[in-house]
Symmetry: C2
Subunit: 355 residues, 2 copies
């Protein structure tokens, strides 16, 4: 007979346990456990009986208990600055696809682009003993990562990197993003190319650098004021792109091409240009980055640089899984994906198309 003492726990839930199956079948819990985990030293007959009973009782192993003894939770934590941003949503989807197959669960937190909140979320996930962390970080310092290392939890950074931090990284080559975009604008005949840059993150800095280098390589000028900051990269990114573009429109000479840090900014820029009575791309060509789903449906379909968000998710997942498998710490790995150009009307000059 089971213990007669009923704890609070017993009153509320009463899930099926291995013990119940073992008792019903007159075998030991260990045998049941072995069947569950496909151990080889169980006779087919017993295995069948156990499986049958499991199905009958709709048994589900208590993963929390398993985690306690194995030290592995089969969960991976993901922290992103903004779930609503299509880029991160796609990354999450790519991740989830790979992890599901391997039986891993995905715990997602949003840091709302707030370093302090992100720190808290990291702590939460570490307390939950996730097997690995995947982070698109909003931090300014590398301190949080040290704390993760202390726990010996493997982690993979995505999208945003940190100088001086030897960590696993998966992302697009941002300098190349800037280069490809700028190169494209030059190719279609733009001479005065402006850039609406993003915040102080590796992504924005990399794209800026790629833009600069490409202009220099082609001997093109970068007049003062041609680099404007798009203030927010989040919800209000389109508004900030709009503002930034209006600023650019006041310049003399006016730019004839704009490379925008991301698509929302690009959309805002488009709006400002059209509102000013100018034509895209004839007067000003615009290119964004991120290749969001709706880029093609805009007033003027927006050319963009594709960051392969889903691939980033998949690669990050695979990398994380390999880190979990490998017993000892391996040298951090950096996976840089090549950006792809997606040409649409906003950079499709008729004159050029005919060339």
């Amino acid at each position: 007979m089971q213990s007669l003492k009923l704890t609070a726990w017993h009153n509320t839930v009463m899930a099926v346990r291995m013990k119940d199956i073992a008792r019903d079948l007159g075998v030991s819990v260990v045998t049941v456990s072995k069947v569950l985990r496909n151990h080889s030293d169980i006779s087919p007959a017993t295995r069948e009986r156990v499986l049958k009973r499991m199905k009958e009782l709709n048994y589900r192993p208590n993963l929390a208990a398993r985690a306690l003894v194995t030290g592995r939770t089969n969960m991976i934590g993901l922290i992103v600055p903004d779930l609503v941003h299509p880029f991160f949503a796609e990354v999450a989807k790519g991740l989830s696809k790979v992890l599901r197959k391997k039986g891993y669960g995905l715990v997602i937190s949003s840091s709302e682009e707030d370093p302090e909140l992100e720190q808290q979320e990291i702590d939460q996930l570490l307390a939950r003993r996730v097997d690995a962390l995947i982070i698109a970080s909003a931090q300014w310092t590398v301190e949080s990562f040290r704390r993760i290392e202390e726990m010996k939890t493997p982690y993979v950074l995505i999208d945003r990197r940190f100088a001086g931090l030897a960590a696993n990284f998966v992302g697009v080559d941002d300098e190349q993003v800037g280069a490809v975009a700028t190169e494209h604008l030059i190719e279609i005949g733009c001479q005065r190319i402006a850039h609406i840059r993003g915040p102080e993150l590796s992504t924005a800095l990399g794209r800026l650098e790629g833009y600069r280098r490409t202009l220099t390589r082609h001997g093109l000028a970068m007049p003062p004021g041609y680099i404007v900051l798009g203030k927010s990269a989040d919800d209000a990114a389109d508004a900030s792109g709009y503002q930034a573009m209006r600023q650019l429109l006041r310049l003399n000479p006016r730019p004839d091409g704009v490379f925008c840090y991301n698509d929302p900014i690009g959309m805002g820029a488009l709006k400002a240009i059209l509102e000013a009575g100018l034509r895209v791309p004839e007067d000003i060509a615009v290119i964004g980055c991120g290749n969001v789903h709706y880029a093609g449906l805009l007033r003027v379909p927006l050319s963009s640089i594709d960051q392969e968000s889903a691939t980033i998710g998949e690669r990050a997942a695979k990398l994380a899984l390999s880190l979990i498998e490998s017993k000892d710490t391996v040298r951090p790995k950096t996976i840089l994906l090549a950006p792809k150009l997606a040409v649409r009307d906003s950079t499709r000059k008729v004159a050029c198309a005919a060339k």
Copy 2:
């Protein structure tokens, strides 16, 4: 002295445990545990000592262990058909915002709109012993929900409901969505209003019903062929909206207003109309649903019905938390939010604005 036997577990990880703190301070583990949980029967002096040592050692409670004994994981599972869909992403954000404050974690799974996959994900989350489930279901039957009930795990459905299932629900009133949209089109003078409907889900059916009733109430005709199915509600929704609209354009008389199941479909419809050389809204007014972020930046800014996605998330989270708190099963609650009209150019007729 600790056990000399080193298990595999000990070799790999070595996180700080209560035991370590207790040993260092010469108190019992329980005392440490009580400090952690702010029990009152601990002297300020001891409390301080424990807290100090916790900080020094960077102690983090093992939530898996806690879960095992308390029977509560402090995790809530969310299953959505598609994480990339802005609606669900916003719901997730709203959820996460509320849950974070209460110290709950969010485990997110995507069912990819596949009922079987969804079933697997539900099983996974139940095995993880999440305290509650929040589901935007892609199921056709209610069987999965019975299985959740068997485990006595509280669950909340969002967005999509099921006839004949007494379950907690949070979502927008879809019939009202259809009514508001149709009413608006009538108000701006449309006479022949078509509808590009969605798949066989409560959302699409509700909106369709609202559309029908409103037309009937106003004594307007619903010529055959005026209701077209937008085949996919996912990735290719815009393409399917485009196709559906082309079909509508072939009709005689041609509709002068279209209510679309969602915004992506609306965007596709817009494209088809403009491509046919017609004007929006002068020739045909278009309204969508979902009020996605980019709706205002389209070729013709798209009017839409706002579903208050973030609010749905927040309400669902609060409902789930209250279900967890309440010991005994309560009567399922249905929370219906009122849709809001967001008027943009696609339904802003000059003639009408002057009226």
